[in-house]
């Protein structure tokens, strides 16, 4: 991300990216401690350090485009426009949450915002995205679906079947691999001989590209190109976004498999700080602008937590509504 790239865009657009990424970080940090305190039920998988992938991709999508997500969905949801309040109510199990308190962290989503409730099975969202792509094509709508998955998912059968079918039928699906180098605690090198996950695209006859997933503008530009190719009927694209989770795989994970040096290196290159440092090289942005955004976002999250904590739970009468199996 160079100082030239940053000058191509409107200030408001860039500050919007910063705000969205910081919203994800602050949401995740606040939620992390609510879980550790034992205030919030269930378990969580968080995305601190991976904010640029979610924001970069979702910013390239229209409101009526769709995403599918994973067991680590909070960032994707916030980036696609699901409200922090409806998500916090959901995490607290409240009936006014985005999935009426029945989804929780791992099934968070909002169809009205273009996000299928998240699918926690590794690779599980991929065939569904292919199915949505087929529906868009048959209905002749210009919509696109972006499906997020991790490095681990690319060695699952669902990945092969989903991406191959999308390829043969030129479906409008952007396959977004967030390569954070660890499938839970297992390094990606232990599960594939490929140095580059994007190389898998060649096996399906589609275009693949590896992008710095901590550079929000690089992600945005790559996603924009991929989305346009999909809209033009040229078929799916595989984007590999290299990033790093600077928190545990799940709430109890102390990350002892991440070498300290490696972790520190990525922490120093985490996407929000990195973007902030380039943003202030513009004449019309200073640290005060960023600070104002951060404190406003903190307030948003704090108020959303208050609402979430006091939200009513579903009643027994709600037990069999919105349940399909």
């Amino acid at each position: 991300m160079g100082t030239d790239t940053i000058k191509k865009y409107e200030k408001e657009f860039l500050l919007g990216l910063y705000e969205r990424m910081f919203l994800i970080r602050e949401f995740e940090e606040q939620v992390k401690f609510l879980f550790l305190e034992g205030v919030m039920p269930g378990t969580i998988h968080q995305c601190q350090g991976q904010e640029a992938t979610a924001v970069g991709v979702c910013t390239a999508l229209n409101n009526d485009d769709f995403i599918t997500s994973t067991h680590r969905p909070h960032g994707h949801a916030l980036a696609k426009g699901v409200s922090p309040e409806s998500m916090l109510i959901e995490l607290f199990g409240g009936v006014t949450g985005c999935c009426k308190g029945k989804g929780g962290s791992m099934h968070i989503g909002d169809v009205d915002k273009g996000m299928l409730p998240a699918i926690a099975i590794v690779g599980g969202g991929i065939p569904l995205a292919t199915g949505m792509g087929l529906a868009f094509k048959m209905k002749k709508t210009p919509q696109v679906v972006a499906t997020f998955f991790g490095d681990g998912a690319t060695s699952e059968g669902a990945f092969h079947e989903g991406i191959n079918m999308a390829a043969i039928w030129d479906l409008p699906v952007v396959f977004v691999c967030e390569n954070n180098f660890y499938g839970a605690s297992t390094h990606v090198n232990k599960v594939t001989r490929l140095k580059c996950i994007a190389d898998r695209a060649a096996g399906y006859g589609i275009r693949g590209e590896t992008v710095d997933g901590n550079d929000v503008l690089a992600v945005y530009e790559a996603a924009q190109t991929a989305v346009q190719e999909c809209r033009d009927g040229k078929g799916p694209v595989l984007l590999e976004l290299e990033t790093y989770r600077i928190t545990g795989h799940s709430r109890r994970d102390a990350c002892q498999y991440q070498p300290k040096e490696e972790r520190e290196r990525w922490k120093n290159n985490e996407p929000i700080g990195a973007f902030g440092r380039v943003l202030v090289t513009r004449d019309d942005v200073d640290e005060g602008d960023l600070e104002a955004i951060r404190s406003q976002v903190e307030q948003t999250v704090v108020s959303a937590i208050k609402v979430g904590r006091s939200a009513p739970e579903p009643t027994v009468a709600d037990l069999l509504t919105d349940v399909y199996a």
Partner: protein, 81 residues
């Protein structure tokens, strides 16, 4: 405001968690997410992070002391609430 920080659920299979080392002294400022202490469980030795930003007022479990999930381990005076 004073926050009583409780030992988080570390996913241990036994109840006992031993404090190995305090990384912050009483009177020192701490930031949310900063490692406060090291503990040893039946699974591993790990750091426990502060839930809040503020000043460490009291250490409730000494080094080598044994505690359990949900027990108060420290009192932190929160600065900006």
């Amino acid at each position: 405001m004073k926050v009583k920080m409780k030992m988080p659920d570390l996913g241990t299979t036994v109840d006992e968690i031993t404090v190995v080392n305090w990384l912050v002294e009483v009177g020192q400022e701490v930031k949310r997410g900063q490692a406060l202490l090291e503990v040893e469980t039946d699974k591993a030795t790990m750091e426990v992070e502060s839930f809040v930003s503020g000043t460490l007022e009291e250490i409730c479990v000494p080094v080598n002391g044994v505690t359990t999930t949900g027990s108060v381990i420290a009192v932190i005076a929160v600065t900006d609430v």
